[in-house]
């Protein structure tokens, strides 16, 4: 059936039929790929420009509408050998990019000023101990003021604005003492220069800004990197729906473009794109992503179904509805609202430090001035010394202490396949003492696999798996993932609801239900004693084999569970699935505490009960039913295959088929937290040494410069240890097979591999499901 593809929501229209679109591209790895795609596209008639941003793995295309369209461009990229996914740019990303540019400009200005002022300052320091005349020194000070004042006015904006915002809200943040220190240092220096004094602090003020801007920029750069990556993943995952138009025609549209009231066709093997009520057709649907239940549910006209379920047997037509009262989604959202409202706001370490730090520093400075006055010093001298105290305590090291660790830890997590949603997640992950796991899709792989506990002849498996490539049934899809040679047999015929048959090497082979495979096949002997698996039978030349398809544990789940328990964490399994399906999994992992058959409200109740006992809970889950529990927990993780709503409430996502990222998240976060505390301690020690010197009135600009840069470097170097420590000592090497997402490419492929059964529009009619991008166990 010819089906038109509607990509208009991704395309930006310009003047005179010019259009622009951004795509996330998979598999771009080298200079050759860039050239192949760019040259291949610009050769097409109508394409004005195509440019790849290799850092972001994105392609920007401009074209004229009258000669080619968006679908044609995607098809052309496919023809060149790459998968491209249209990309709806998010506003947050654009804001971030503007912010990064602005910080970089401030950084450049501060860097320029710091270098030039230091050039003049060093001359003055040298001249003060040799033969510099007062006129020359004054000239150098005025020149410094000429450079430093405009530069500080420009480069200090990020701090001044944030400090003003905090003061207006009647709060103190770290930017308040920073701004105050910089402004006072500059004002004092101008006054001293005008009165021909020997010391001015222009270099201290501007150097402080430079160091702090470095920290700000690195922090933002790290956040941007993860956000761009998450954006690419989202477009990779973006699903398409078959919309039935009023005219009876079928259009493929992005799920985001569906509106309530639209009619949608869902074919067997596809994911249900939106919540809705079934208008026609009967089928069984797998709701494991919604409720955690692994047994398919029979549905027919009038039944309400949820986005994320997989349609197993028959084609369904449904009407998209907004979540109605009494539905599961409505209950989940009600619980979510309550959980978010009840969530205790954890105060971040940096803010706690700032709230304590600023009053202490300002009180010390005031007391110093008063003390010197009482001791008989002049008003001028007392104020100069008090301001010197403010300058030396300006929280340069303190303001770098925590962001520096966060940047390094976030980078380490990113390489380990964990994408953080927010910066303070690291601190909360570190405090966790209990981990609650969902079962389906979290401890087990999101898609069912072939049970390997029984002996399987590899030849038969390969043939059955290759035959399964020609079927759309989810059971066959699980088998098909095992095919080494990913070419379907020619002439394979699928009989809907029964199975596939093809002639292999001159003999007819069948794959499907036992009945379909012939009367000689015994009625599934294993089914009677095993209710957690589904069975699929393969028959060829009189010989038959039956494969058990079931939820399989993530390959390293046992080792990770052991390692987590060894680190003193209490593990709990909470599942919406039947007890018969949950208990064996918990047993195998050695987790004693497990509860099954829970509704979303019961899951969240368990989390609250744990919290009441004073436990800090990390919730790891993927289902829609887990979303309220994720929001209620102290910290939360989701696999990248999780339902949309669930991902939105997780602190971090993890990629790939392995459970190891959970362990890594906890280990790196704990390490990071201890380094943050070390850094704060270092900053305190620095102040304990420097403040008495300043109070005694002995601080010269030279001492201030050495002390400030020295302490900043010390905390930054200490922060780098978060990276050294993170990459070792995790789990035994045997399970250390996480696809190293060192580059975006590997991580993208791993993510793509774990995002199976994503129905991407097939532009050419293909009989086979789209093969996975790359099997990560390969």
């Amino acid at each position: 059936m010819a089906e038109t593809l509607d990509l208009s929501m991704f395309v930006e229209r310009g003047a005179a039929g010019a259009s622009h679109m951004t795509l996330a591209v998979e598999g771009v790895a080298c200079a050759g790929c860039i050239r192949k795609i760019e040259n291949g596209l610009t050769k097409l008639p109508g394409v004005i420009d195509a440019r790849i941003n290799f850092t972001q793995r994105r392609l920007a295309v401009d074209w004229r509408d009258d000669e080619i369209d968006a679908a044609g461009i995607i098809k052309a990229i496919e023809g060149i050998g790459y998968q491209a996914h249209p990309f709806a740019p998010e506003r947050v990303e654009a804001d971030d990019s503007a912010q990064a540019k602005w910080l970089l400009k401030c950084l450049a200005v501060a860097g320029f000023a710091a270098m030039n002022v230091m050039l003049l300052s060093i001359s003055v320091w040298a001249g003060n101990v040799s033969d510099m005349t007062q006129e020359t020194r004054d000239l150098f000070h005025w020149l410094s003021a000429l450079i430093a004042l405009p530069a500080a006015a420009y480069a200090g904006q990020p701090f001044f604005r944030s400090a003003l915002r905090a003061l207006r809200a009647r709060q103190l943040n770290m930017d308040v003492p920073i701004s105050l220190g910089v402004v006072l240092a500059l004002a004092l220096s101008v006054f001293e220069t005008a009165t021909h004094a020997a010391h001015a602090y222009f270099d201290s003020a501007i150097m402080l800004l430079f160091f702090l801007l470095c920290g700000r920029y690195l922090d933002l750069a790290m956040r941007r990197k993860t956000r761009v990556f998450a954006g690419n993943l989202a477009s990779l995952k973006a699903e398409f729906a078959h919309r039935l138009e009023a005219s009876g025609e079928l259009t493929q549209v992005p799920v985001a473009a569906l509106n309530p009231g639209d009619r949608v066709l869902v074919r067997p093997g596809e994911r249900i794109p939106a919540d809705g009520a079934i208008l026609g057709g009967t089928s069984e649907i797998d709701e494991s992503l919604v409720t955690g239940e692994t047994l398919p549910r029979a549905v027919g006209a009038g039944t309400t179904v949820y986005a994320g379920s997989i349609n197993v047997t028959g084609a369904l037509t449904l009407r998209v509805t907004a979540a109605g009262a009494g539905t599961l989604v409505e209950e989940v959202e009600r619980l979510l609202d309550k959980a978010i409202a009840a969530k205790s706001q954890t105060v971040r370490l940096a803010d706690r430090a700032a709230q304590f730090y600023a009053p202490v520093v300002h009180a010390t400075a005031a007391l110093t001035a008063i003390g010197w006055l009482i001791a008989g010093a002049s008003l001028h001298d007392s104020i100069v010394i008090a301001i010197a105290v403010l300058i030396i305590t300006c929280p340069c090291a303190l303001a770098l202490a925590i962001p520096a660790v966060q940047v390094v830890a976030a980078g380490s997590l990113f390489r380990g396949g964990v994408i953080l949603n927010g910066g303070n997640a690291i601190e909360r992950l570190a405090e966790v003492d209990t981990i609650v796991f969902d079962k389906t899709g979290t401890l087990t792989l999101p898609d069912p696999g072939v049970d390997e506990t029984t002996d399987i002849n590899p030849d038969i498996l390969e043939r059955a798996a290759r035959l399964a490539l020609s079927s759309r049934h989810p059971l066959a899809a699980a088998l098909a993932r095992r095919a080494r040679e990913r070419i379907p047999y020619s002439g394979a015929v699928e009989e809907p609801g029964q199975g596939v048959r093809a002639v292999i090497d001159g003999e007819e082979a069948r794959l499907g239900s036992a009945k379909f495979c012939g009367p000689a096949v015994p009625e599934q002997p294993m089914a009677a004693r095993d209710s957690t698996a589904s069975f699929i039978t393969f028959a060829r030349g009189g010989k038959t084999a039956t494969f058990a398809i079931r939820q399989v544990l993530r390959p390293d789940a046992i080792a990770v569970a052991k390692a987590l328990m060894a680190r003193g964490l209490h593990l709990i399994v909470l599942s919406g699935d039947r007890p018969a399906a949950v208990a064996p999994v918990a047993n195998e992992l050695g987790i004693g505490d497990c509860r099954a058959g829970l509704k979303p409200a019961e899951k969240i109740a368990v989390i609250y009960a744990l919290r009441a006992q004073g436990r800090r809970v990390l919730m790891v889950g993927d289902g829609l039913n887990d979303a309220p529990a994720l929001a209620a927990a102290h910290a939360s993780l989701s696999p990248v295959t999780a339902a949309h709503l669930t991902q939105a409430h997780a602190d971090a996502l993890f990629l790939g088929d392995h459970l190891k990222p959970v362990l890594r998240a906890v280990v790196v976060a704990r390490r990071a937290r201890s380094l943050m505390k070390q850094n704060l301690a270092l900053a305190v020690i620095y102040n304990a040494l420097a403040v008495p010197v300043a109070i005694a009135g002995l601080v010269t600009p030279l001492i201030a410069a050495v002390a400030m840069s020295g302490s900043s470097m010390l905390v930054t170097l200490n922060a780098l240890r978060a990276r050294l420590a993170a990459d070792g000592d995790l789990v035994p090497a045997a399970v250390d097979r996480l696809p190293s997402p060192d580059s975006n490419r590997n991580a993208m492929s791993a993510a793509a591999a774990s995002l199976s059964s994503v129905p991407f529009p097939k532009l050419a009619a293909k009989a086979t499901p789209r093969p996975l991008v790359e099997d990560i166990s390969a």
Partner: protein, 49 residues
């Protein structure tokens, strides 16, 4: 010390030129794709035989 009269402005001018150069390169998007720039110099299909 009269030499300072032209040495200092020269030093400042050189520094400002560098700053202006950086701001221009930032504005023209040269830092948008650092990894890509490293790879784009490799193909030599722009050389005519």
């Amino acid at each position: 010390m009269n030499v300072l009269i032209y040495l200092v402005p020269m030093a400042l001018l050189l520094g400002l030129t560098g700053l202006a150069g950086f701001l221009w390169s930032l504005k023209s998007g040269q830092y948008d794709d650092l990894d890509g720039a490293a790879l784009r110099i490799l193909p030599d299909d722009d050389i005519e035989n």
